[in-house]
Amino acid sequence: MSAGPAETGTGPLPGGRAGPAARATLAVLRRSRRLTGPVAGAAAGVLLLLLLHGNGFTSTLVLDMLVYAIAAMSLDFLGGYAGLISLGQAGFLGVGAYGVAIAEAHFFSPWAAVAIGLGAVLALGLALGIVAVRVKRISFVIITLAMGQVLWGLAYQWVGLSEGDNGIALATLPSLGPFDLNDPLTLRMTVLAVFAVVALLLVTFVHSPFGLSLRGVRANETRLAALGYRTGLHRYLAWVIAVFFTGVAGVLYVFVNQLISPTTMAFSANGLLVLMVVLGGLGSIWGPALGAVVIVLFQQELSIYLARWQTVMGLTLIAVVLFSPGGLWGLVRAAGRRRDALIARLDPHSRGTS
């Protein structure tokens, strides 16, 4: 989770042989080890500042980043850890969003609509999981692609329920006493809080014995079964968790945009989600959040100035995949490792402690 080791030990500086320059470099490098916390804090601060003081456009941009970051992190939990890359995830985001919008259009209260949206995506995840866990690798990709396309087709063509191409506008957001999501600031803070909770949960999950078992599933499922694991159950639970959190992202999506239309679930949306995960770094949770930030930025900012923004995005992705297979997060990790190696070289005393 952290970019570098949390170790902050300050062993004795090497006397004698090391010159003052080396000693100064070493001190800087050592200090940089303690930067993980401040850097994360600064990122959170910028986020908070943009949400508190940004204009409507900026804050919507940041909220979209957070919503897609939730979806990308969920997809990473399934794809980066259990090795199951889903190409239908935007479909489940749509189910969460449509669930809320359709329920509200049918005169359910906003809170009931949220429960219905989350319930629908959970039920769908539980049901479709029975099919999805029967296949692996490329078959899994194809099956989830088909699921996503079916969901998109329903949104597009079941006009009586979904209003087809036009999509559904969401009139009122839930409120409870002073807590009113119709208030922009409350909404912004709520999205940020949900993002933080989901990120924290997913990071906790991947470091648990269950998270370890998912990495085992990806590395060698047969062996895991020979160690007493019901591997199908583990893949099923990972699927349900990922689908549910993607549905949570969908609910927030319709809150932020107050509109849900089939475009959100189109094939290209599924592709973008996978791009976020790969660009950010498969199997790192925080990486895909970073990938979501970059891609939403490309999609919404760069597209204003540059008609060929997709070309830029494509070239960026190719560069990242070629030079850092671990994605953007892989670059961060590699830098941390290089620094530790440098410290070890400059300071023989630190060997064995880091």
């Binding site: 648990s208 269950f210 590395a219 062996r223 079964a225 020979a226």
Partner: protein
């Protein structure tokens, strides 16, 4: 439960096991009884059906006909993970470790295998102190103590074979199936693995596939010989080595002057 006249049921019993692949019979009518605490070898040339027999015993494959019993309990229909829970562990001939994971993570996965904690979501696996301490102990038994934080993909071939056996031992099996644990090892590494195998607790039943009889010598006390899917001979190591048919079929047909109609060309085994 089957009644076993004359005392305890055998640790592992196979009754008339058959398995075919699209008309080719890989295992034909094999019956075995391995007593509790025995050290049992299964010998045979390449393609004799040894690994298929193991897969039938451990549950990776279902037999076409026949049954398998563990300590008298019929396990023919149980999946591998249930058999493991009943005390039947195995290793694989083609090494199956978790190469993306470190040695510590490999062993931790194995140690959680039989407990409910493997489904735990909220507690970091590193905080299970008893488990990580046990993993370190296991690694130390094989000289892997300094490699705990090394990714398994960076281990030497010998260390990988050792980790393979450790993963199975982590589950504290009562019966352990070892599929050619010494395959591809240097003579020095072979001595290491033989030392580990002879140091295992006496109550552990060991069943070991090997096509090199020399490796089995000193580790197992009785053995069965498999050829073209069928049992050719069964008995103590001395009996096996003196069995004329075994010599003829497996040990290269000594004295038959090059006329070996029953042995396929690749049957000589690796040197």
């Amino acid at each position: 439960m089957t009644a076993w006249p004359g005392g305890d049921p055998p640790a592992l019993a196979a009754e008339r096991l058959c398995r075919g692949f699209r008309g080719v019979t890989a295992v034909a009518d094999v019956s075995l009884r391995v007593a509790s605490g025995a050290r049992f070898g299964i010998i045979g040339p390449n393609g004799a059906g040894k690994t298929t027999l193991f897969n039938l015993l451990s549950g990776e494959l279902r037999p076409t006909t026949g049954s398998v019993a563990l300590f008298g309990r019929d396990i023919t229909r149980l999946p591998p993970c249930r058999r493991v829970a009943l005390g039947l562990g195995r290793t694989f001939q083609i090494t199956r470790i978790f190469s993306d994971l470190t040695v510590l993570e490999n062993l931790t996965l194995a140690l959680h295998g039989l407990s409910r904690s493997k489904l735990s979501l909220l507690r970091p696996w590193r905080s299970y102190r008893a488990v990580t301490a046990e993993a370190a102990d296991l690694a130390a038994r094989f000289g892997l103590a300094r490699r705990l934080d090394t990714r398994a993909s960076e281990l030497s071939h010998g260390e990988v074979r050792e980790l393979e056996v450790l993963l199975a031992l982590a589950l504290k099996p009562r019966v352990l199936l070892l599929d050619e644990p010494a395959a591809g090892l240097s003579p020095a590494e072979r001595v290491d693995i033989q030392a580990l195998l002879t140091s295992l607790p006496a109550e552990l039943t060991l069943i070991m596939i090997e096509h090199d009889i020399d490796v089995l010598r000193g580790v197992v006390d009785s053995a069965a010989v498999l050829h073209l899917g069928a049992l050719v001979a069964q008995g103590s190591m001395r009996e096996i080595q003196n069995d004329d048919r075994v010599r003829e079929l497996y040990l290269g047909g000594a004295g038959t002057g090059g006329d070996k109609p029953a042995v396929p060309p690749q049957a000589g085994g690796q040197p």
